[in-house]
């Protein structure tokens, strides 16, 4: 991997969900290795859409997406992206689908082709990173909202991604878990894009900040 190059380079990208008004219009965004970018914007402004586009879950109607040094357009192009870019979904209920915490966290590493031993280690590490040791055999469906969020984050971290895309990671957490997430993000070496409505939180964990507004991205100072 070329550490000097761009991690992500989006040029002239437009996206519309339906035939109506585009959510993103002619958006440009460049992120270099090691950068931590905050993303703010009103509800429905297209923050989630942007993150989903980066991992190829949504395909832009126009424009070019270059990730990890390569232009990505087909489903196959994004296979590699998804193994190296971890996306934390906004709603943890969308992310957790296995019966137990352990199985859910193991899902990603298994998809990456890790063997049993490596997977077990990844599960343990990820759980201790988010401070949820001992939750291995808990039923995900029965966890509280905050617990689900931390476990979701663990499912992403277990894949040891190079880049993290976090969609409102601290939303709905109590002050203690909030602080834990904050210090965890600060301690992680990865480049990341963090969506949040909490400007203070963003100011402390990111290095620059963008606002999504009327389909465009604007650099802002927080």
């Amino acid at each position: 991997m070329n550490e000097k190059g761009n991690l992500l380079d989006i040029q002239g990208v437009s996206f519309r969900h339906t035939a109506q008004q585009p959510v993103l219009e002619d958006v440009n965004l460049t992120i270099r290795h090691g950068e931590r970018v905050g993303l703010v914007g009103a509800i429905g402004s297209g923050k989630t859409t942007l993150l989903h586009m980066i991992v190829g879950l949504l395909k832009p109607n126009q424009g070019q997406v270059e990730i990890l040094g390569q232009t990505r357009s087909s489903e196959r192009d994004f296979w590699e992206v998804r193994e190296r870019v971890g996306l934390l979904f906004q709603d943890p209920d969308d992310q957790l689908f296995c019966p137990t915490v352990q199985e859910d966290i193991a899902f990603g590493p298994l998809n990456q082709g890790k063997n049993r031993e490596q997977t077990e280690r990844a599960v343990r590490n990820a759980l201790s990173l988010v401070g949820m040791e001992g939750y291995e055999d808990r039923i995900t469906h029965h966890l509280s909202g905050g617990e689900k969020r931390l476990v979701s984050l663990a499912t992403v971290l277990a894949m040891e991604p190079d880049v993290l895309l976090l969609d409102e990671p601290e939303n709905g957490l109590d002050p203690v878990s909030h602080e834990r997430i904050r210090s965890l993000l600060l301690s992680l070496p990865q480049a990341m894009i963090v969506v949040s409505h909490n400007v203070e939180f963003l100011a402390s964990v990111t290095t620059r900040c963008l606002r999504v507004e009327d389909g465009k991205l604007k650099e802002i100072v927080v």
């Binding site: 019966p99 137990t100 039923i139 995900t140 469906h141 029965h142």
Partner: protein, 211 residues
Amino acid sequence: MHITEGVAPASVAAAGALLAAGGVALGLRAMKDEQIPRAALVASAIFVASLVIRLPLGPSSVHPVLNGLAGVLLGWAAMPAFLVALFLQALLFQFGGITTLGINTVTMGFPAVACYYLFSRRIRESKKGREAFLLGVAAGVTALTLSFVLWAGSLILSGKQLAIIVKLSLLPHLAIVTIEGIFTGFIVGFLARVYPKAFEMPHIIKTRSDP
């Protein structure tokens, strides 16, 4: 495993319709009003799954049927649930057909009910996830095998020349039944661990006067 429109002659179609009507009537009697949302949601979930999930099999893939699962979750209410699901499939996607709706409801529904009697209680009483998994496999395999027998029977009754279709589809069906079993097993195992209440509802036939 549908009988396509036009294939069944009047006698077979009528027999199927009558049997289906009887089964659906029993199912409607068994289904209490407050179980309607539950039956409908299970029917929708199974409809969606059988439409969009493709389980890879060699170079091709198969759609799950899940009538064993419907049976253990719904009991006799699986009959009306399949009637509705099959009608919608015929209307929206041209699977099966309107004159063969009865036969297809019988083919899918009765094996489901059989699975209810055979497996529902055992799954409810199973202690470990593994046991529930195996019972689920058994339910999936049993239901689909019975469905295959009913399907083959109605084809052959429709015309002995059609037996060739049964012969040709025997081997593929063996593979389909196996995959359906494994798939149902994982679902039942999941439900037994995560939401055992799924198997708890009393769906046995009850007359109106029952408390």
